[in-house]
């Protein structure tokens, strides 16, 4: 891969629960096409999918962005939803504010943000109540 940065932005509809995962599927396909190692693709896919889920169920829609740099992958998810009042609480495994509808689908067990963190080499959340939330997740690419 050249030193150029690959960048793509995906818009996420906040009303379509069935469409959750469409953007992540595109992200996964882009990483595959660019020859990223499969273990990194899997980590990035899980991050993207968890983040996309959050953007829909908590943020009411937003965007996701994929950036591939020479030595790292960055996934950014942004919504203009209600924001997270207590980020450290939201990072606790098992803490969830998901609705029954989401739980019936098999999600909302309070694993999403910790799982994003576990799959990232570096993760940052910026959130402001009433304004929205932005998650940055970075995965390093080690080159032989």
């Amino acid at each position: 891969m050249s030193a150029e940065i690959y960048e793509e932005e995906y818009s996420i509809d906040g009303k379509e629960f069935v469409a959750i995962g469409v953007a992540s599927t595109k992200i996964k396909a882009a990483l595959k096409m660019l020859g990223i190692p499969s273990d990194l693709i899997r980590r990035a896919s899980v991050i993207a999918y968890e983040a996309e889920m959050n953007v829909v169920i908590h943020g009411g829609g937003g965007i996701m962005k994929l950036e591939i740099h020479p030595d790292f992958i960055e996934i950014i998810a942004r919504d203009e939803g209600p924001g997270i009042p207590d980020i450290s609480k939201a990072m606790e495994e098992g803490f969830s504010t998901a609705t029954d509808k989401i739980r019936e689908m098999g999600f909302g067990a309070g694993m999403g943000l910790p799982n994003i963190k576990r799959n990232s080499d570096n993760m940052e959340i910026k959130s402001e109540v009433g304004k929205g939330t932005e998650v940055h997740a970075v995965i390093g690419i080690k080159r032989e």
Partner: protein, 122 residues
């Protein structure tokens, strides 16, 4: 364990992805109705066993490179899930066995569990 053997052991019905079946061999299984936990704990290329049937089960599997899904308790996956699975030729299998029964039979035939990592606050 070959996916073909899984199907025999579970007396399961193949709903789609017949063409991919003979190329799939799995070492581990993960059984859950909680996709949050599948995303957190399933190791790569596992066989997923579940009783949930919505489209997000397929997407979860796809993100984790899960090669096939077994629906237990005779649960039929929803139409939109099946359509996506057909497109990507992922085998979708249905067994009348309960989750416990299906897991027991597969374990007895050599399918291994996933290792749940130690973590804080879990």
């Amino acid at each position: 364990m070959k996916l073909r053997e899984v199907i025999e052991v579970l007396s399961a019905e193949i709903l789609c992805g017949e063409k991919s079946i003979d190329g799939i061999e799995i070492q581990n299984g993960y059984a859950s109705d909680l996709m949050s936990d599948v995303l957190a704990f399933a190791s790569p290329y596992v066989l997923l066993l579940t009783g949930l049937t919505n489209i997000q089960i397929f997407r979860t599997a796809q993100m984790l490179d899960i090669p096939a899904i077994v629906f237990v308790r005779g649960k039929m996956p929803q139409v939109d899930l099946l359509e996506l699975a057909k497109e990507s030729e992922m085998p979708i299998i249905v067994t009348k066995s309960s989750m416990f029964d299906a897991c027991g039979k597969l374990y007895a035939n050599g399918l291994l569990p996933c290792i749940i990592p130690d973590r804080q606050g879990g």
